[in-house]
């Protein structure tokens, strides 16, 4: 059995790395009580809260946190007709937070994620580990068997080409979860009691050309490097699919990172995932996705971006065209999604006009 950490008595971090360069984006529909537990690690940072569901509800934010909050009315007001690309009644709405942020880095976490304990019993400062991951290079062109060579006590192994040891910039840090693992509905139904108790003490770069299932529960990224690709798609209310928002973003992000020579890491940090969602509800949401992903995956695996696509936006626009061309045949949903991808980029560029350095 694994338990969350008890963070009572841990002093608030007085030397928070990247305090003014990082926003924490949290989607919520209920309350943010979980932040109390995260206070020692997260209080110094600015929060962007994206309130989903009924905008007339008031979300209580624990005292002492500096935040801005957006509900559906705010999203509609700020984006106008372009608000159609932001999902409703789904945590995919969180990507609105990425768009309005003005910071270089984003950390996003779900409101049912608590602080985990490492094997020594110490509370894991997940944000600090994400920052370390983002600030150290990635190594996507050659797999290092000792995992992240930049960690204390590790290095590149014998045979690792010296010309590749400088690494590339890290765009994404994908964290993991103890306790309730991120399983799909069928697996949850078959193994309702399975808990992830295995603390794998490693961070690694996912090799170039390899896709992975990106979970949005415990995720950080360099917004300046990859932000426009972090669109979490059309999910939830009025849509035929749910629980594929982060997956969709992850596949787009990985194709673009591979194309632009950026790195994606996975592994530490762990958070403690406390709530298992209802598997029957999940099955209804995921149902179409389970079949569609059989076509979506080969699509992304063979997606080739042009040499002319040198910015994230250009890459993303090319991808949206390819989605329209190749995936609309599966379902008209993809036609809508491709349009929404374009809307997203237009909205992103409007809210984030390019500044000359």
């Amino acid at each position: 059995m694994v338990e969350p950490a008890n963070t009572v008595g841990i002093p608030v971090n007085h030397m928070p790395l990247l305090k003014d360069e990082l926003d924490i984006v949290i989607p919520t529909i209920r309350n943010l009580d979980f932040l109390e537990m995260w206070r020692p690690f997260l209080q110094p940072y600015h929060l962007i809260i994206v309130q989903d569901g009924d905008p007339s509800k008031t979300i209580a934010v624990p005292e002492g946190f500096d935040y801005e909050l957006y509900n559906r009315n705010d999203i509609n007001r700020i984006l106008g007709p372009k608000a159609s690309c932001i999902s409703f009644k789904d945590s995919a709405c969180r990507c609105f937070g990425y768009m309005v942020s003005k910071k270089k880095y984003i950390f996003t976490i779900d409101d049912d994620c608590f602080v985990a304990k490492d094997p020594s019993g110490k509370a894991v400062n997940a944000l600090e580990q994400h920052i370390k991951n983002l600030l150290c290079p990635s190594s996507p062109f050659f797999f290092n068997t000792l995992y992240d060579p930049y960690r204390e006590g590790a290095d590149y192994v014998r045979g690792y080409p010296f010309s590749l040891r400088e690494g590339v910039s890290t765009a994404v840090s994908h964290g993991l979860w103890l306790n309730i693992p991120d399983y799909d509905a069928p697996t949850q139904l078959v193994k309702p009691k399975e808990r992830n108790t295995r603390y794998v003490d490693a961070v690694m770069t996912i090799p170039k050309g390899t896709l992975f299932p990106m979970c949005g529960m415990n995720l950080a990224f360099d917004r300046e490097l990859i932000g426009p690709a972090m669109y979490f798609g059309l999910m939830g209310d009025g849509q035929p699919i749910g629980r594929y928002d982060d997956m969709w973003a992850g596949w787009c992000v990985k194709v673009i990172c591979d194309h632009l020579g950026l790195g994606v890491k996975t592994g530490l940090p762990y958070i403690y995932h406390s709530k298992a969602s209802n598997p029957f509800v999940n099955l209804k949401k995921e149902y179409k996705g389970i079949f569609w992903q059989e076509d979506i995956i080969p699509f992304f695996q063979s997606a080739k971006l042009s040499k002319e696509a040198v910015t994230v936006q250009q890459c993303y626009m090319e991808l949206s065209k390819m989605v329209k061309e190749k995936l609309s045949a599966i379902d008209p949903y993809f036609d809508k999604l491709a349009d929404a991808m374009v809307t997203w980029i237009e909205a992103w560029d409007e809210l984030n006009p390019p500044t000359k350095a």
Binding site: L146, G159, D184, R198, P207
Partner: protein
């Protein structure tokens, strides 16, 4: 997972003896080697008699035995660390587990000795998943599974060709790195096994490795000898080259290569600074190898492992031969290896 569940008749443990006295080595591994058949191959350049303790089911091969099987001119192929490949050649088993003679069993974080043999065989017997990365690592181990978003059509996996283990204490770092960080020891026990994705290249270390001999034996090529190759791992690259070939061929044939557990505890041997004094040829050869393997496409018609090795050797000769004589020699050795493999194993 215990050794009782493994069919010991399917496994050969192959040890390359670069040290004459194997007493400490074999005694420390006795709990995990007992019940298995061992093949000990003596480095043909080692002059002293081997010292092997009692109680093991072991066949020992020395230079004379080698020459009987492969001929005197070919025994040079098996000198130094490459002597273990002779063991792979003459084995009749499905799985091979090979551990360097300066390694002993490691302890896991709970203080228990790690049964590296069982873990390797478990890795080999379970499917690999090279076509899509599972963020919870090995989905077939206890307490884990495929995560949300992992395509269902890919969940049955593919056959596992090799299991690459790791090392606590003295990790397999190259000479420049170890010389720079003389005190560095690997104390990090990462509790995971994972499949290295298809198309991803990696440096496979021969220190602690296992493979499915029936599946990919001919691809385990003792081919690349760097000038001044020595008797310490810092002065060799044969395993890294073998691994690059193996991975490429596995990717081509749709097999998987796993990495991670088991760990072994690797002891001090040699001096990284001493090894540095020699011009480190390996560095240059690796730099040339990487773009070669990165762009290499084996023909679709190469469907058998032996054919893949021959095609690979052809490509090495054509594209790398002019860069360095070591590559031409490697290509020739690869062809010779397949010939030897076929002749030794055709009568089996």
């Amino acid at each position: 997972m215990s050794s009782a569940e493994i069919n010991k008749n399917e496994v050969d443990i192959v040890i390359g003896a670069l040290n004459a006295d194997l007493t400490q080595f074999l005694t420390s591994w006795r709990p995990f080697f007992s019940g298995f058949h061992l093949i000990v191959v003596k480095d043909p350049e080692l002059k002293e008699e081997l010292n092997i303790p009692e109680g093991f089911d072991v066949d020992v091969y020395s230079k004379t035995d080698m020459e009987k099987v492969v001929g005197a001119s070919n025994s040079t192929m098996f000198s130094g660390y490459s002597c273990r490949y002779f063991g792979y050649l003459v084995s009749k088993k499905k799985y091979i587990v090979s551990i360097d003679d300066d390694c002993v069993p490691a302890k896991d974080p709970k203080g228990f000795l790690v049964d590296a043999v069982s873990q390797h065989v478990f890795n080999l017997e379970n499917p690999a998943t090279p076509l899509f990365f599972n963020t919870l690592y090995d989905p077939y181990c206890e307490g884990a599974d495929f995560v949300r978003g992992y395509p269902f059509s890919l969940r049955s996996g593919v056959p596992c060709a090799a299991s690459c283990g790791l090392w606590l204490n003295l990790a397999d770092l190259d000479a420049p790195t170890q010389a720079l960080k003389t005190e560095q020891r690997n104390t990090s026990y990462v509790d995971a096994v994972m499949t290295v994705p298809a198309k991803a290249m990696l440096p496979i270390s021969g220190i602690n490795i296992a493979f499915n001999r029936e599946l990919v034996g001919p691809a385990m090529v003792p081919a690349l000898r760097i000038a001044g190759e020595g008797k310490v791992r810092w002065e060799t690259l044969e395993d890294v080259w073998c691994g690059m070939c193996l991975k490429h061929i596995s990717d081509h044939l749709g097999y998987g290569v796993k990495t991670g557990m088991p760990y072994v505890w690797r002891n001090e041997r040699g001096d990284a600074v001493e090894s540095l004094r020699k011009k480190w040829e390996g560095m240059k050869l690796m730099e040339k190898s990487v773009p070669f393997f990165d762009s290499l496409k084996l023909p679709e018609t190469a469907l058998k492992v032996e054919d893949c090795v021959i095609e690979l050797a052809k490509a090495v000769k054509e594209q790398l031969g002019s860069d360095d004589p070591a590559f031409t020699q490697a290509a020739d050795a690869m062809v010779k290896w397949v010939q030897l493999w076929n002749s030794v194993n055709s009568s089996g």
